[in-house]
């Protein structure tokens, strides 16, 4: 790494803030994704189905107006 001179603290702070912000965002998004997948798997394991999944024709993906 080159000598970043007298303003090195500003450069490191900028990259540090960017890394921390992205890491926090990624952690929150991945944690939410895992939580929803866990909840969905739990409901499905108890035999609960979405109404659109229940009414969908055999062999076709269930279609609903909303996700």
């Amino acid at each position: 790494m080159p000598d970043l001179g007298p303003h090195a603290i500003f450069i490191f702070a900028a990259y540090g803030v960017a890394f921390a912000a992205v890491a926090a965002l990624a952690f929150a998004i991945v944690a939410d994704d895992r939580k929803q997948r866990r909840l969905l798997a739990d409901l499905e394991s108890r035999g609960i189905r979405r109404r659109s999944a229940v009414t969908g024709r055999a062999g076709e993906p269930a279609r609903g107006p909303r996700p």
């Binding site: 500003f10 960017a18 912000a21 965002l25 939410d32 997948r37 979405r50 107006p65």
Partner: protein, 245 residues
């Protein structure tokens, strides 16, 4: 594209893309950071602080692009009633807000050694702050209205109204006298930035773009699943009520 209107097909595609995108994003960040710190030379005027550009500029671009995505998705919600449009808009808001915050903070940290101040109320900085506040407003609106359909339509209106800020940010450096430098890359004519820095900036911009797409896909998947979970929980409650009667 029409097949992506089906959330189930979207989930399948997202599941296949996410691991590849994660690997590609990590590789590009590795290359980009190497170029930014070991290959790109210091600027003849700004010295080593120009290295802040490699994170500041892509973050600002993605903050603006994220809002443009929300504006297009808002049209999708209000006009075409695309089933994934409000999911895309809702998922993009926190990501765009984070990139806007990164652009503001890194710009401030770049401004102090170069301008002698962390902040001035000039047109570019202020319009960028407005963008960040618009993102927060959208997130708050989504949180305030429980029913996703209603929340989506309300947020779509705010999303479209706020889109007027995007050209203001872009052209603020031309329309007003600002401390912020004028456009040096996306401009009429060739970029004014030296090719030795442009390469590193291009790789970092691509890495940031892939990071945005990656996080957006994961957030959209989580939102689709959240709505499914809510629908199934409602079905469960209805079945329990029927069983009691």
């Amino acid at each position: 594209m029409p097949s992506l209107a089906n959330p189930t097909r979207f989930l399948d595609l997202a599941g296949r893309l996410i691991p590849w995108l994660a690997v590609l994003t990590a590789i590009l960040f590795g290359i980009g950071l190497y170029l930014a710190f070991f290959v790109a030379p210091p600027d003849y005027q700004q010295g080593e602080t120009v290295r802040i550009m490699f994170v500041h500029v892509p973050a600002a671009w993605l903050a603006m692009s994220g809002y443009a995505l929300i504006a297009v998705a808002s049209l999708g919600t209000l006009i075409w009633r695309h089933p994934l449009a409000d999911v895309a808009a809702k998922a993009a808001a926190p990501i765009g807000a984070t990139f806007a915050l990164i652009a503001l903070v890194t710009g401030s940290l770049w401004g102090k050694p170069m301008w002698g101040t962390y902040w001035v109320w000039d047109a570019r900085l202020t319009s960028m702050l407005v963008l960040f506040l618009l993102y927060l407003g959208l997130i708050a609106l989504w949180q305030a209205i429980e029913e996703p359909g209603r929340a989506g339509r309300a947020a779509a209106i705010l999303g479209l109204v706020g889109a007027i800020n995007i050209p203001i940010i872009k052209f603020s450096v031309d329309w007003w006298n600002t401390l912020h430098q004028p456009a040096s890359i996306v401009r009429v004519g060739a970029p004014t930035i030296d090719p030795s820095m442009l390469g590193a900036l291009a790789v970092m911009a691509l890495a940031f773009t892939l990071l945005f797409v990656l996080l957006h896909l994961i957030a959209m998947r989580a939102e689709i699943l959240r709505r499914r979970v809510r629908a199934m929980q409602r079905t469960q409650v209805e079945h329990a009520a029927l069983a009691e009667t």
